[in-house]
């Protein structure tokens, strides 16, 4: 029997277990929404003492701290197994992607292990985010000159 890549992909899809997309999405919605709700509670609390910008930053820092503790204790990974994007997309997922390799690569040393791998996922995120903001900044500058 001859197989082209297309029909092979179809067979693989038929043979693999069904991905419970609906259930995944419910988990992602409630866990992700819950993390954002917790963030909003923090933000409203910080707004009592700080302006909107600093309140936002402090909210992120608090969530990052909570995520670091949960990652250290192994809880975040357990939740992520169910919640998928619900734990990946919020800033806590970004923090988890920094903290996890930091702990994991301790055995390879502080500089080439921890220091290098800490940026495994955060590095690309920061690099392309910075590039995108640089491009937008240049456009914005040009528009403010032209207009």
């Amino acid at each position: 029997m001859k197989l082209d890549p297309k029909s092979y992909a179809k067979m693989v899809r038929r043979a693999s277990p069904p991905s419970p997309v609906g259930k995944d999405c419910l988990w992602a919605f409630f866990v992700g929404g819950g993390i954002c709700l917790a963030g909003e509670v923090l933000r409203q609390t910080y707004l009592t003492w700080y302006d909107a910008e600093m309140a936002g930053t402090l909210t992120s820092i608090t969530l990052i701290f909570a995520s670091a503790v949960a990652t250290l204790l192994g809880w975040y990974q357990k939740l992520a197994a169910h919640a998928g994007a619900g734990t990946l997309v919020p800033i806590t997922g970004f923090a988890n992607s920094v903290v996890s390799p930091a702990i994991e690569f301790k055995t390879e040393g502080w500089v080439t292990g921890v220091g290098a791998h800490i940026f495994g996922i955060a590095g690309p995120v920061i690099a392309y985010g910075t590039l995108a903001s640089w491009v937008w900044g240049a456009l914005y500058w040009a528009m403010s000159k032209g207009g």
């Binding site: 997309v21 954002c36 990946l88 690569f105 995108a132 937008w136 914005y140």
Partner: protein
């Protein structure tokens, strides 16, 4: 009302991410990178600020909000200092989150031990 919108919008943004995981073979790193860049683009197009006004942390906590933060920061820096601001604005605005992640990660590595992933 604030809290309801934060929950709904934040949850909705995560569902989009979940659909990307389930229907494409994008790795988590690619999804996070894509979200931040998309956040910059949405913010530049003027679409993200209204969402942030409505949903508060529901818009700022997902990584799209990180992109929005970068884009807002660069605009402010350009307004204040002109062209050099395109280099300083983005990372200045995001500095708190990045520094917190790095510092807490290093502290966690100091006290933590790598565990069995199973």
């Amino acid at each position: 009302m604030n809290y309801l919108w934060a929950f709904l919008v934040g949850g909705g943004i995560c569902v989009v991410g979940q659909l990307l995981i389930d229907y494409t073979s994008l790795s988590p790193a690619r999804i996070l990178t894509g979200y931040v860049v998309a956040g910059v683009v949405l913010s530049a197009a003027g679409l993200y600020a209204p969402l942030a006004d409505l949903a508060g942390a529901g818009a700022s906590v997902p990584l799209l909000g990180f992109g929005h933060l970068l884009a807002q920061g660069v605009c402010r820096a350009v307004d204040e200092t002109g062209l050099p601001g395109i280099f300083t604005g983005g990372l200045c605005a995001a500095a708190g989150g990045i520094a917190a992640s790095l510092v807490f990660a290093l502290l966690a590595a100091l006290v933590g031990r790598s565990r069995d992933q199973s």
